[in-house]
Structures are given as C-alpha cells and as structure tokens.
Symmetry: none
Subunit: 142 residues, 2 copies
C-alpha cells in the first residue's frame, strides 16, 4: 500500500529517486501513461492484476481497445539502481510534461509521478472538493 507525498529533483540524466518507503525490496517497476497527465508506477504484482482486469473488458468495444493500446504501448520496465533511482523514459517524460521538480505520491496500489507545478495546481483546485467529501466521511462516523 503506497501512501505519502515526496518531492524530488530529476537530474540531468533523467534519473528519479524513488522514496525508500515505496521501494521496500522492489527492484523493478512498470511505468506507464497515467490519467490527468501524470505517470503511473506499478509493482509487477499490481501490474499483473490490472492487465488481467483489462483483458476481462469487452474487447469488441472500440474504446476499450484504444485504451488498452495506449496503456500498454506507454508501459515500460524500470529497474531501480543501487542508489534507489529509476531512469524516466524520454517519451513518458514528455507525455507528463515533467520538468526539473517532480512530486511523487503514493495512491494505494500505485505510485504517481507529477511535475510539481502541475501537482500543486491540481491540488489547489481539488482541495475544496476533497474537504467536502471528507466531511461526508466524518459524518459517517469515521
């Protein structure tokens, strides 16, 4: 279960540090195009689960096929080096419009990689909604 938020810099060699709390032993991740122009990072296990779910989708639908195409074509293996970093593929870096400053967040079964500016913007606009839903949760006795 990945949770938390971290800021890291992408160095000139496009290497990104993966926080120690996200690694716990994992030597390898799968990166792919995410939603809202961020990148998704999966462990091998959760990648497996997702592809299984995708395969269960009604493939006759044109939309589903297109989605899987983009999802799979953007995916790539990422090895973690001895310093705990991965190399961000150029294509995905461009897709997510990642600059020098990067925000890495844990979202339960996946890790997301955001350009820090974009993340801040997303955070700002989504926060009011968040508080609204959070109030609902506390009303439910949480």
């Amino acid at each position: 279960m990945f949770i938390g938020q971290y800021e890291h810099a992408l160095d000139e060699k496009n290497r990104l540090f993966i926080p120690a709390k996200f690694r716990h032993g994992q030597q390898e991740f799968i990166v792919t195009r995410g939603l809202e122009s961020c990148l998704f990072l999966f462990t091998k296990e959760s990648w497996q689960q997702i592809t299984e779910k995708l395969n269960a989708l009604p493939l006759t639908k044109h939309e589903a096929r297109s989605f899987i195409r983009l999802f799979a074509s953007g995916a790539q293996d990422c090895e973690v080096d001895d310093q705990g970093r991965i190399l961000v593929p150029k294509i995905l870096k461009e897709y997510a419009a990642i600059g020098k400053k990067v925000t890495v967040i844990g979202v339960m079964n996946r890790i997301e990689i955001w350009d820090t500016q974009k993340w801040n913007k997303f955070y700002k606009t989504t926060k009011p909604k968040y508080e609204h839903i959070a109030e609902k949760l506390t009303d439910l006795g949480i």
Copy 2:
C-alpha cells in the same frame, strides 16, 4: 477510544510526543491531512476501516480518483520510537502550519494534532456554539 487534551513541544528534530494514554501498545499510526488544517492520527485498524469505506462511497470515477489521490498522498506511516514519539513528516508539518507548541487532542476514534495557537483560536470561536449544541442535546435526554 481517544479522549483528552495535551500540550507538547515539537523538538528541533520534528519529533512529537504521543501521550501515554493514546498509545496503549500501538507501535504505529497513520497521519493524514485533517480538516480545518490540523492533522489526523489514526490507528492502523481505523485506517483500514476508512479505506474500506472509501471504496464503498458512491462517487463518479473521476471524483473518486481525485479524492483517493489527495487522501492517500496526504497520509504517511508513523512509527513510535522507544520514547513514545513520532516523527512528523515535513510536508504535513507545513500543511498544518505547526510551530513549536502543539496541542494533541483525542476525538473518539482519532487523534488530532493542532498548532496550539490555532487550537486556542478554534476553541474560542467554537465554545459558544458548543454550549448551544449541548443544550439541544440535553433536550434529547443526554
């Protein structure tokens, strides 16, 4: 069940003492961004319950994705050290604008961490309302 109010200082290493009455055995908590810019501290068990309820919430896909993103990104594991302290993550410290003096309160199934100044302000403005609501409750036989 957490009740009570305590004041503690955050030391230079951002460590916060958790009152003994809040610990009873717990070696680990989950901290998250709370409402009214304080921090929530959950036990692992109630965290589990929350994530389960989250999945049951009737939200549109996009809403759910955004909410889980904010919720998970604001959360973090906190181990209690041998002295009964946790390390407050920098990002969350900034979020709650916590200074040197901290007020820790028990709110039933969660603990809340407030900057003492903020807490006092909140307390002052809410107290009259509290008495008002309390009167209503006594009408109900409580």
